[in-house]
């Protein structure tokens, strides 16, 4: 008898994603749902979606979900976690959300060492509004507001938010991964697992930055977008464990 070995995870509703073909959000949603199922925490998890392409994430995750004003995911997650400390709380935020309008909230949540997990989706642009420059846009990268490419003198250099958050005293686990190949997808799932375990153990602020394809705004095929992450984006945002004060967790 053939056995089904891969199917939709329990905490993802049977709904068609509104995301574009090849979008990294779709894969990342699935990984988060798989991790919640494997750690058996879905029934006590509360997710906080952002403003941006993932604003409707509550239509997909079959766990309790809230919603944060633009950039305020870590602040809302702080409130939820402090009120309901036995819940597992994660915010899910894009780069425009977390690294521009929400910078202050994010840095202070990390510095306070809030026991939450932040999932930071870095696709180097404002996806939902049509591909404008974000703080994370690479030098030379085209966007609708940097035709001809981002210029350091005019537009500043990309922001290394995860490295900045690693300096914050309260953060304990920060890793940058990518959705660009089977290997990197598996690595992202391992990092998510560790981040949620960090929170389950009550150890403090964890954040996973995920380099994620936005093929439509990058004007690339999904296959080329994945390759561009590996060849180009990782030059500016290298994949690595940025901070680990957690060590091995069971």
């Amino acid at each position: 008898m053939a056995k089904k070995i891969f199917q939709r995870p329990k905490y993802l509703k049977k709904a068609v994603f509104h995301y574009c073909p090849g979008c990294g959000h779709s894969i990342l949603h699935r990984l988060v749902a798989e991790v919640l199922e494997e750690l058996d925490i879905g029934e006590r998890t509360i997710g906080i979606p952002p403003a941006g392409c993932a604003v409707l994430a509550y239509n997909y995750f079959d766990v309790d979900m809230g919603e944060a004003p633009h950039g305020r995911g870590a602040a809302v997650a702080t409130g939820v976690k402090r009120t309901l400390p036995d819940r597992i709380v994660f915010s899910y935020q894009g780069d425009g959300d977390i690294a521009a309008i929400g910078t202050a909230e994010t840095i202070h949540a990390a510095n306070r060492g809030e026991n939450i997990t932040v999932i930071f989706v870095n696709n180097g642009c404002y996806g939902m509004t049509g591909g404008q420059m974000a703080p994370t846009t690479l030098i030379g990268q085209n966007s609708t507001t940097t035709p001809g490419g981002r210029d350091v003198k005019r537009d500043a250099a990309p922001i290394d938010l995860s490295e900045m958050l690693a300096i914050a005293r309260g953060s304990v686990y920060i890793e940058r991964t990518a959705i660009s190949s089977p290997k990197n997808i598996r690595r992202t799932k391992r990092a998510l697992t560790k981040a949620f375990k960090t929170q389950m153990a009550g150890l403090g602020f964890s954040l996973i930055e995920v380099l994620s394809p936005c093929p439509v705004n990058w004007k690339m095929s999904p296959v080329d977008a994945a390759k561009w992450i590996d060849d180009t984006m990782t030059q500016t945002f290298p994949l690595k464990v940025i901070k680990d004060e957690v060590g091995k967790l069971d």
């Binding site: 056995k3 089904k4 891969f6 993802l12 073909p21 090849g22 779709s26 894969i27 089977p182 296959v223």
Partner: protein
């Protein structure tokens, strides 16, 4: 003669035609359908493994499903 170990089922109505699965399958078992689905994409289509010659046999590795953004692929293994 290689044994057929795996099998996938693609839900053509969930597929958005990103073709990440085609690039990922080590055994080149997935092709582009020449008929549109309801959403207006040319979905991915699974071609049966050739278990007679041992060529292009699905081993149930699930790499296609791992990279599929839209959960259009289910994988079965013997």
């Amino acid at each position: 003669m290689a044994k057929k170990e795996g099998l996938i089922v693609i839900d053509r109505e969930l597929c958005k035609g990103c073709y990440l699965c085609i690039a990922a399958c080590p055994n080149k078992l997935i092709i582009i359908s020449d008929e549109l689905n309801q959403m207006g994409y040319y979905p991915a289509e699974y071609t049966e493994a050739d278990s007679r010659t041992g060529d292009r046999v699905c081993n149930g590795c699930a790499t296609c499903a791992l990279v599929c953004p839209d959960l259009a692929i289910e994988v079965y293994r013997e």
